[in-house]
Amino acid sequence: MKFRILTVVLVIGLQNLMYSQEYIPSWFEELPEVTGVRLAVGYSGKFTNEFSAKSTAVQLARKNMAKQISIRLKFDVEELADGRLRLLNPSFKEFYEGAVLNAIESNSTVVDSAITTDGYFVLLAFPAVEYFSLPDAGDKTWSVRPDWIENLPEEDGYVYGIGMVARYSNWVRAWQDADEYARFDLGKNLQIEAESIHAVQRDNRTTIESVILKQSYDLTIEGATIVARWLDTANGVYYSLCRAPKP
């Protein structure tokens, strides 16, 4: 009997791990575009009560909105290789205005929300709106693998960035990191300072390449919006797509 119970528990646990976040609101996968209003998504995992879940999701949506309005990103990566090992040291720092966050807190509205088996989702609008209608809003399963994962979109006047993470046990953390990586990736596609030194040593048998590589940027980006997300449910890979108007 114990054997059967243990097997059932294991199977259910593995299923949950493999197919976590099966249902999502449509605007979580693809952010709708509405003229005159900025939209940002917030989300939270399972909470003991609905109020806490919503409050956490709204807080995250406000932060995402503040980052969307204006964010300063500082990125640098160093890679040292001496032929035997390679060391990679990336650094990510971001700053956004507290005053902007306060303005969002006082003048924004939650225009839609959804509770799924995994958590709570909110769609925040800034500035606050009285009436708002979303076409085709509702819960759905993930669509087929989008093309933007392999091929960065090309659109006049816009720059894009992709964030991807895998092997996360917590989906909220996974999406937060995928979103952040997407913002930083966008910055790299705008402009980046690149320096490197390559030295190659050759003898009769071996070739050893030593590399010191450094790349960095410090940019303030306005309008960097997470416009799409996609979850590879079979492999547990989280993808976010960020878009910003070219300065």
């Binding site: 243990l6 990566v77 091929n151 960065l152 991807m164 993470v165 990191d177 990736d185 980046i192």
Partner: protein, 184 residues
């Protein structure tokens, strides 16, 4: 109880076997993207590829992107160096040590200066055992290169003029403009 112990033992052995499955598998040739082996050629853009293997997907992507961009920066340095050397030789200054230094300074600065609009246009991620193998293709528009070279040459001109007051920078700018016409 006996069944339970057998079950736990089997699971442990299975996990051990999966985790210590021998050497890290290498990329199969069929898995390597075509654009990595043969980056696209274009008149108005430079393409370079990079790859990296890491246990973290995000790190693998960052490293592959950085290597692709580094390859772009090195290509730019080479192109600008050749362009500047050609000009210097035509001006009769090719063997002059100061002229060589000027050439080197401009080339290095252009390569090290901010890469504007250097985008990762294609990317693929392969799973190899416990690691991720990321492939990235970077694209850099040649018009950006022309602008950077002109700006840097103008910046360096002030320094160089102290030594070579009679150098005709309009000719250099015309040479660089030739590249621009190729990019259009």
């Amino acid at each position: 109880m006996k069944k339970l112990l057998t079950f736990v033992l089997l699971i442990s052995v299975a996990l051990f076997t999966i985790n210590c499955g021998g050497k890290q598998p290498k990329a199969k040739m069929s898995d390597i993207p075509e654009w990595y082996l043969n980056p696209p050629q274009a008149e108005d853009a430079i393409y370079q590829a990079g790859d990296a293997v890491k246990t973290s997907m995000a790190l693998a992507k960052d490293a592959a992107d950085a290597r692709a961009r580094d390859a772009i920066a090195r290509t730019i340095e080479l192109r600008v160096t050749n362009m500047m050397k050609d000009f210097m030789q035509q001006s009769g200054l090719g063997e002059d040590s100061e002229a060589l230094e000027f050439t080197s300074n401009v080339s290095k600065q252009v390569a090290n200066t901010v890469l504007k609009g250097c985008r990762i246009v294609k990317r693929e991620m392969k799973v190899e055992g416990n690691s991720y193998h990321a492939y990235s293709l970077a694209e850099y528009n040649l018009n950006s290169l022309v602008e950077e070279t002109l700006n840097e040459a103008r910046r360096q001109k002030a320094l160089y003029n102290e030594a070579k007051a009679n150098m005709n920078f309009e000719e250099l700018e015309r040479e660089i403009e030739k590249l621009k016409s190729v990019g259009q």
